[in-house]
């Protein structure tokens, strides 16, 4: 089975395609963007994008979106995580969380797969908390201020391998993989 993964992020493509190869799924990189709407849920971003991509892309495709949802901030930065990271950085998030004792947060990834005429959606979550300060220099974005549940280190203090064993994206890929393996049409 061949699926086009639509993303401008070559690193992400490499990570996901390696995992899906295990289910005999060949991922092809379609290096292009698509309009992302302003909304409160990742799934809505993908469903809107798919309505446009369905007309423009022939064959089956996969798209994804991720975000960090901080409960004390009503889910901020959520769908806008990439923009907020560029503008405010981790220092901005720590300022907003100063004095806040309730620090629960969840990293979320959603995949949307178009196969034939169907849209299927797969979720991966990684619950955790926002630390009091930045710790570690690995990973990217919010990794140094996010400590997964049950861990004593942040994503920024883990190796890529350690992070990939428990990350939201890894979990979403696992769900996708299980689904593809169960419904394989080779």
């Amino acid at each position: 089975m061949t699926i086009q993964f639509i993303t401008t992020n070559a690193g992400k493509f490499a990570e996901v395609s390696e995992k899906l190869a295990a289910a005999s799924v060949k991922l092809v990189h379609l290096d292009r963007g698509y309009p992302e709407i302003q909304t409160d849920r990742l799934e809505k971003v993908l469903k809107y994008a798919a309505t446009g991509l369905d007309d423009e892309v022939k064959g089956d495709y996969l798209i994804d979106d991720s975000g960090l949802f901080i409960e004390a901030l009503g889910g901020f930065p959520g769908v806008y995580s990439a923009y907020v990271q560029r503008r405010l950085g981790n220092a901005g998030i720590l300022k907003l969380m100063a004095g806040e004792t309730y620090r629960a947060a969840t990293f979320q990834t959603v995949f949307l797969l178009r196969r034939g005429d169907e849209h299927e959606v797969f979720h991966g979550d990684c619950p955790g908390s926002i630390t009091e300060s930045e710790r570690g220099r690995n990973g990217f974005g919010y990794d140094p201020i996010f400590q997964p549940q049950g861990e004593t280190r942040t994503f920024g203090e883990m190796s890529l391998q350690e992070k990939n064993a428990i990350s939201h994206r890894a979990r979403a890929v696992d769900v996708l993989l299980t689904h593809l393996s169960a419904t394989k049409e080779l």
Copy 2:
């Protein structure tokens, strides 16, 4: 000349239609939303929206978008001002600006007018600064923490009439009005 103003905000419709009546422009309320994309500029939100609306709406129409751009925060919250106001409120902005001495900010409004096959864009800015604390209970959103240049009071301390004399939206409407008066086709 009749133009449809596409907005879900009845108060905004009333304000703008009253002003445009002075140029013999009859504004009709088209109460519906449209997809707004994630981007860094208001103008891009409107231009993308217009590509969809052009197919769906017959006749001439007007759409608008506004935002508060804080320079020390790289333009944040900008295009996402409404979302950020709901999630973080003015308290969140004041937290992010704590200890920051460079407090310049600009309220911006952009209108996009579709007339015939043309898209025309009109800008209105109101430069000012972010106050150290909330002042006043008038207006809405960021009004209590925004002090226009040359004023000693925030928008939140002004009457609606005072605010409307200098606001970004009022300025954008003036530019639109001048343009429509100059190109009138009655």
